[in-house]
């Protein structure tokens, strides 16, 4: 029963906190998110919602680097799935002043660390001066494991993807995105 209640509360928390966030960009130094600390009927905190954000760095010379996103999965270290809600579809990594809100996930109290997996969709695009082409984003998902205590300091994890290092020529027009990145939380 308690599990059911937690599940229902976490879904509600995600749904509420995702409201109005379909516009992906946000400031690169955003204020801490409006964190949802859900409480059960006996007033015990049941968990907290965190954000995953994505921004490009070192993208000088590019006019656009469009990266489509496929899925966001979050689990406990033992693989138990946690509620996650993706809100972004395609992000432009040349938008330097903005960190896109990729999605949000709910961590029930008692979970000490989380595994986050972001999967890209198959192809995006790039433009650089008069050159342009498809961007092959059929690559391994970006995964990381973060302690909840560390995530709690800012309420989010931010992926900083180094565009200059990650985009590799694959022929005349196509480039491959093999991610070199930092995760900050």
């Amino acid at each position: 029963m308690k599990k059911l209640l937690l599940s229902a509360l976490s879904l509600t928390a995600l749904a509420l906190s995702a409201c109005g966030s379909s516009e992906p960009p946000a400031s690169s130094t955003p204020e801490p998110p409006e964190l949802t600390t859900t409480r059960t009927q006996d007033d015990a905190p049941a968990g907290r919602t965190f954000e995953l954000r994505l921004r490009g760095t070192n993208a000088q010379g590019y006019d656009s680097v469009l990266v489509p996103l496929r899925s966001l999965e979050v689990t406990t270290p033992t693989g138990a799935p946690l509620q996650a809600r993706m809100v972004a579809r395609t992000v432009d990594l040349t938008v330097q002043e903005q960190a896109y809100l990729v999605g949000q996930f709910f961590v029930p109290e008692g979970v000490s660390s989380v595994r986050v997996k972001l999967t890209f969709d198959d192809f995006g695009g790039w433009e650089q001066g008069k050159k342009a082409g498809a961007l092959d984003t059929q690559v391994a998902p970006v995964s990381f494991e973060a302690p909840v205590d560390s995530l709690s300091q800012r309420g989010r994890a931010v992926l900083l993807l180094d565009v200059g290092k990650s985009l590799l020529s694959e022929g005349q027009e196509q480039r491959l995105m093999l991610p070199t990145l930092k995760v900050n939380y």
């Binding site: 433009e127 498809a134 998902p141 995964s143």
Partner: protein
């Protein structure tokens, strides 16, 4: 399998609470000296090189963990004691030799990285307090070279025409090419709908596989249908623009028909087969009389119209 770790610059291992407090790293990863390496001869030994560089100008940087999840099962391990403090101006280098005995073994390795695309992406992760660095290298498993058949088709003048194809990425950014495809006749995509305009075609290619237009999550069935619909659309364009019908001959129509079904495994399998056909001839030149136009990804994405609707259906039981 062999391991060979060496320190390019001495990196002192300190206990937690040592003098190190910075965490400014840069990492580099290569396979056979390149970010991307292809292999087409087996057995072969490939070399993975990792480099962990402290880029803080005045303080050592502290690494709490260093991992390569994809290679760990093959014997990779971090050879330094952790946590590891890398001194100012210092770096820690490593190399790892991996023997791959066959093409099939290479493909199995490739499937381990979470993207079964015939390439193995090996990611080096360096974890520090409040974050981590990641860098990757790619090993592409090419089929072993096969000698041509023992007759010369040029002598008999019966060489097959090359199957020219372009993949989903090409049509996603080449509006003119896609427009020419749409102009031929409407593209039937089963229960996903019918594509009659460039905007709708781009919508199929650019739509989020996991979100409907209204932001709600797609059901697994509708995700599988969209993913197959893209490959059907691309195969359709390859067939009718370049005369490159997928093989076997009924594959395109099988894909189209499956889009109205609820057999999710079949949807996934057909997507894989069609995708293979769609990439097979992408190295061949386009027909001389075909003008693909400039690639315009940002504009293409901006006009894409996701017309797909929730089907209200689910995958068949057991799928």
């Amino acid at each position: 399998m062999q391991r060979g770790w060496r320190a390019a610059v001495v990196a002192a291992a300190l206990g937690v609470g040592g003098a190190a407090s910075a965490h400014e790293f840069r990492c580099e990863k290569h396979v056979d000296g390149q970010p991307v390496a292809h292999i087409d001869e087996y057995p072969v030994t490939v070399r993975f090189d990792d480099k962990l560089i402290n880029i803080h100008p005045t303080a050592p940087s502290l690494a709490l963990r260093a991992e390569d999840p994809g290679l760990t099962r093959s014997g990779w391990s971090f050879q330094y004691a952790l946590p590891l403090a890398v001194p100012v101006g210092g770096s820690a280098d490593s190399s790892f030799l991996l023997q791959i005995h066959s093409y099939e073994e290479c493909r199995a390795l490739a499937a381990r990285d979470g993207s079964d695309d015939g390439a193995f992406d090996s990611t080096f992760r360096v974890v520090w307090p409040l974050g981590e660095d990641q860098c990757a290298a790619r090993l592409v498993c090419d089929r072993p070279y096969e000698p041509p058949p023992p007759y010369d088709c040029h002598a008999t003048n019966d060489c097959p025409e090359p199957r020219v194809t372009r993949d989903e990425g090409f049509f996603k950014v080449h509006e003119s090419a896609l427009q020419q495809c749409v102009d031929l006749f409407p593209i039937e995509l089963g229960s996903v709908g019918t594509v009659s305009t460039l905007e709708q075609a781009l919508g199929v290619l650019w739509a989020s596989p996991t979100l409907y237009r209204n932001g709600e999550p797609r059901t697994p069935l509708d995700t599988a249908r969209l993913m197959l619909a893209r490959q059907v659309l691309v195969a359709h364009c390859n067939a009718y623009l370049f005369g490159s019908f997928p093989l076997p001959a009924d594959l395109l129509e099988s894909g189209r028909a499956a889009l109205s079904g609820i057999q999710c495994r079949e949807l996934g399998a057909l997507r894989g087969e069609l995708r293979e056909m769609n990439v097979e001839g992408r190295e061949f030149d386009l027909p001389a009389d075909f003008e693909p136009g400039q690639a315009t990804p940002a504009h293409a994405q901006s006009i894409a119209e996701d017309f797909t609707q929730p089907s209200g259906q689910r995958c068949a039981p057991g799928q």
